[in-house]
């Protein structure tokens, strides 16, 4: 297998883009990435998107994005894995480059959640569970997280879990592409209304639109391009869809497997990871990500958060541009935002959010409530 590099990235601001369609947002990000890499064509296109059939009544996104991005002719594939669709698209694109079949691949993720009402977005998220089980009874995404939160609190106490949105917002302060580029206090989080007790509104990511793209190239092409590069490794795993049917609902086995495997593939151990882009769709998921992947002992993630370990100045910075909560979570785009931001960190272009000489960064993307997990690792090239 050949080595794979990220050679360009582009993304839109996460916001309610009333005046732009899904394909326009994706084309915008795609073209920025293509230009950034200094190339004029790609061998294929992988599109990550979760809900276009439902919210936009649009299928066939692969061909549409090829056309909108001025790349008609290139093979194009839409990849779906619920909220991890972008990561799944990245994984597929990676494989085409690593196999030698392609020199350059465009991976673009996008989602336009504001086309739906909040109740429709909730229905859309609920589609990550089984239609006739969780879907039938209305056990929507936040209620499942709330049940996990309760079980977690019973086993470990829930101290510090609400710090995760606070940390994300701290990092998004002043970030131009973030949906909520401002600080959020712990008091505000704790006084926000319940979505499903004990999970509060300010502990979960919001509804927004956005698109992000990266260009993946093989070794030969990488050597010829002038743009900055970072080396990419990917891994993924699935688990039983319902957390309560797993051996331990508080351990995301999919995350554990994907992370172990990607560290192995990259020849990196946990201590060498300079930062993590967590899947903080909810505060409790952020904690479970860290614990399931072995970056925090079980029950300790919240306490470490309170101590400041995950701040930019801490021992393991997380969500360096605001994560899902503050930068935003336009489902199919999210993992690509994570990788694009990691790429900026590793190529010393993270501006005010720049970490000091980061060597490797990990991006975790989760579909459903841990039904699948993708771990994407970027290493300094």
């Amino acid at each position: 297998m050949g080595r794979v590099f990220v050679a360009g990235a582009g993304f839109t601001k996460v916001a309610e883009h009333w005046d732009k369609s899904l394909e326009q947002l994706m084309a915008e990000a795609a073209v920025k990435a293509v230009d950034g890499a200094g190339i004029s064509s790609v061998n294929s296109i992988y599109v990550g998107n979760a809900l276009s059939e439902f919210l936009q009544e649009q299928s066939n996104l692969g061909a549409i994005i090829a056309e909108e991005s001025g790349l008609v002719g290139a093979p194009a594939f839409r990849v779906e894995a619920a909220e991890a669709s972008g990561a799944a698209a990245l994984y597929a694109g990676f494989c085409e480059v690593a196999s030698g079949m392609a020199d350059a691949v465009l991976v673009v993720g996008g989602e336009k959640l504001s086309d739906g009402l909040a109740e429709e977005v909730s229905s859309g998220l609920m589609m990550g569970g089984r239609a006739w089980y969780e879907g039938f009874i209305g056990a929507e995404f936040y209620s499942l997280n709330a049940l996990l939160y309760k079980l977690y609190a019973r086993r470990f106490g829930d101290e510090g879990i609400p710090m995760f949105p606070v940390i994300s917002h701290e990092h998004a302060d002043g970030v131009s592409h973030a949906q909520y580029p401002f600080k959020l206090s712990l008091e505000k989080v704790l006084s926000s209304p319940f979505l499903a007790e004990p999970l509060r509104r300010l502990e979960v990511s919001g509804i927004g639109d956005g698109a992000a793209a990266v260009i993946l190239v093989g070794e030969d092409l990488a050597a010829k391009l002038k743009s900055p590069k970072a080396q990419l490794y990917v891994s993924a795993a699935t688990d039983y869809l319902s957390p309560f049917e797993r051996e331990d609902p508080l351990r995301f086995q999919s995350v554990a497997l994907a992370v172990s495997q990607v560290l192995d593939r990259a020849g990196v151990d946990r201590g060498e990871i300079s930062f993590i882009e967590l899947h903080d769709a909810t505060s409790i998921m952020a904690a479970l990500c860290l614990e399931s992947s072995g970056f925090s002992p079980p029950g300790n993630a919240g306490k470490l958060a309170m101590k400041g370990e995950f701040e930019l100045s801490g021992s393991l910075p997380c969500n360096t541009f605001g994560g899902l909560k503050a930068r935003g979570h336009p489902l199919g785009a999210t993992a690509i935002y994570q990788v694009a931001e990691s790429y900026l960190q590793l190529t010393e272009r993270a501006g005010r959010n720049q970490l000091d000489s980061p060597r490797a960064g990990l991006a975790l993307s989760i579909g459903g409530v841990g039904a699948e997990a993708y771990a994407s690792l970027l290493k300094r090239a």
Partner: protein
């Protein structure tokens, strides 16, 4: 749900009736091709017990659109008397009545209604067990 999909699920939704793997005992909601735990291929029909205890619950306040007329509603994680865990809506309870660990029992209710013209989707919910019931 469309009528054919719903009809296929009726045995489970109406009676908690499904299939157990003959080899490892894993419960499946509909007849499996292969056991999702042990990959064995032999199964027997089985009905889950209709009572158990409430392990944890939450109240949904930001419902998906299919459920907006019923909100707020409660979702519970229940451990049935044979150890199987099941998610269910909870019904017929008063605010202060729900307690983790309490006995609950399955009842047959309207779970979703597809507008004025569509089918009524009946299924299971759990309610606080009747005293002595």
């Amino acid at each position: 749900m469309r009528a054919p999909s719903y009809w296929r699920r009726m045995p489970f939704l109406y009676r908690l009736s499904g299939w157990r793997c003959d080899h490892c005992g894993a419960f499946h909601y509909s007849k499996p091709i292969v056991c999702r735990r042990c990959r064995s291929r032999r199964f027997s029909e089985a009905e889950l017990p209709r009572s158990g205890k409430l392990i944890a619950y939450t109240v949904v306040r930001s419902p998906p659109r299919e459920f907006s007329e019923f909100s707020p509603y409660a979702i519970g994680l229940i451990e049935l008397d044979d150890g199987t865990r099941i998610l269910s809506q909870l019904t017929d309870f008063q605010e202060d009545e729900l307690r983790e660990g309490m006995r609950v029992e399955a009842v047959f209710r309207r779970v979703r209604v597809n507008g004025e013209q569509g089918i009524i989707e009946y299924g299971y919910k759990f309610r606080p067990a009747l005293r002595g019931g």
